[in-house]
Amino acid sequence: MGRPVTVARVLRLAASSAAGAAAALVAIVSLGWSATPQATPLPRPKLSLRENKRPLSQADLAAAAAWARRFRSCAAARNLILTEPTIGENEVVITGPAGQRITAAQSQKAFACGVKVGDPPPSLTFALLASDRQLHLYKPRACLLPAVEEPPA
C-alpha cells in the first residue's frame, strides 16, 4: 500500500516540479537561448531544375546552342553520339541518339568534353547539369551548398 494522498503531499510535489521548471527557465535565460536563433543544420532547399533556371535571351540561347554543338562534336569523337541540341524552356537540351535518354555512365563520359571544349558561355553564368537522363545547359539562379551533416563547432 502506498502512502495516502494528502493535500500537503500534493503541494510538496508541486513545489518540487515548480522548482525544476524555475531552474530550467533560469538556465534558458542565463544561457541566452532566447536571444539567438539556433544554428540548426538545414536540409537542402527545395530548388528544382525548373525553378533554378533564369530567363535566357535569344543571344544567350544562340550562344548556348553554339557551345552545345561544339560539345556534341567532342562527344562524337569519344564515340558518344548525341542529338542536335534543342532549345527548351530557358535551356538547351542534349539527348542521346534518336531521342534516347543519356545514361549516367554516358553523362560522365560527356562531361570530360566540358574540359576540352571549355566552360559554357559566358563561362561564369551557365551550368551543365545531367537530369532526367538529359544534359541541360542553363543559367542557374543559385548554387546549392552541400548538405551539412554536423553542426559547426
Binding site: A18, A19, A27, I28, P45, L144, L145
Partner: protein
C-alpha cells in the same frame, strides 16, 4: 525512518529533474526556427546571429557587432558560384550608392579558397568588406542552403529580409530603402 525520508527526497528530486527537462524540451521545440532563413520566410524578424570572421584581405576580422546601429546587407557568395560572380557588380553598385546612408555591406565567402575568392572579388570590382567562412559556420548559422543569399539586418539587429539566389538590383535597392526609411 531515514530510508523513508531518503525515498521522499528522491521522489522530489526526480520530479524536479523531470520538470527541468520538460521545460527545456518545450522551449527548444517552440524556439527551434530552422535558422534565420526559415524564420524570415515565416514572416518573422529574428535577431541576427553575430559572427566574427577573418577578413579576406587579411586586414583583421569582420564582426557584425562592429556595425551596431547601421543597416547591414550580408551577402553569402563563393568564387565557384557563377550567379554569385554575376551578382557581385550589382552589389558593388548598391554599396556605393548606399554607403553614405548608414548602410554597410558585408560579403561572406563560403567554403572557398582564399586565393580564388580574392581573384573573383577583384574581377567583380568588389570593394566592400569580405569575410572568410571556409568552414561554413556562418552560412549554417543563417540557415543558407544555396548561394548567393542576401540578408538585410536592421539597425535594431533584426533580420528583416532574406533572399536566396540572384537578387535583382531594383528589388534589393527597394528593400534597403524601406529599412533605411523605417530607421
Amino acid at each position: 525512518m531515514n530510508v523513508r525520508r531518503a525515498r521522499v527526497a528522491a521522489q522530489h528530486a526526480s520530479l524536479a529533474l523531470v520538470s527541468f527537462l520538460f521545460v527545456l524540451l518545450a522551449w527548444e521545440l517552440v524556439h527551434t526556427t530552422g535558422g534565420v532563413s526559415a524564420a524570415v520566410a515565416r514572416g518573422r524578424t529574428p535577431p541576427a546571429p553575430t559572427f566574427s570572421q577573418e577578413a579576406l584581405d587579411g586586414s583583421g576580422s569582420i564582426t557584425l557587432d562592429d556595425y551596431a546601429g547601421r543597416v547591414v546587407v550580408i551577402n553569402f557568395w563563393a568564387s565557384w558560384c557563377g550567379p554569385c560572380r554575376v551578382e557581385a557588380p550589382v552589389l558593388e553598385r548598391l554599396w556605393r550608392k548606399w554607403r553614405s546612408h548608414v548602410v554597410s555591406f558585408i560579403g561572406i565567402d563560403v567554403r572557398d579558397s582564399k586565393d580564388a575568392a580574392r581573384a573573383a572579388a577583384k574581377a567583380g570590382g568588389v570593394s566592400y568588406p569580405l569575410a572568410d567562412d571556409a568552414s561554413g559556420r556562418v552560412v549554417q548559422l543563417y540557415g543558407v542552403g544555396a548561394l548567393p543569399a542576401t540578408f538585410i539586418v536592421s539597425p535594431q539587429r533584426r533580420v528583416v529580409y532574406a533572399h536566396v539566389g540572384f537578387v535583382a538590383a531594383a528589388e534589393l535597392d527597394a528593400r534597403i530603402r524601406r529599412v533605411v526609411d523605417a530607421g
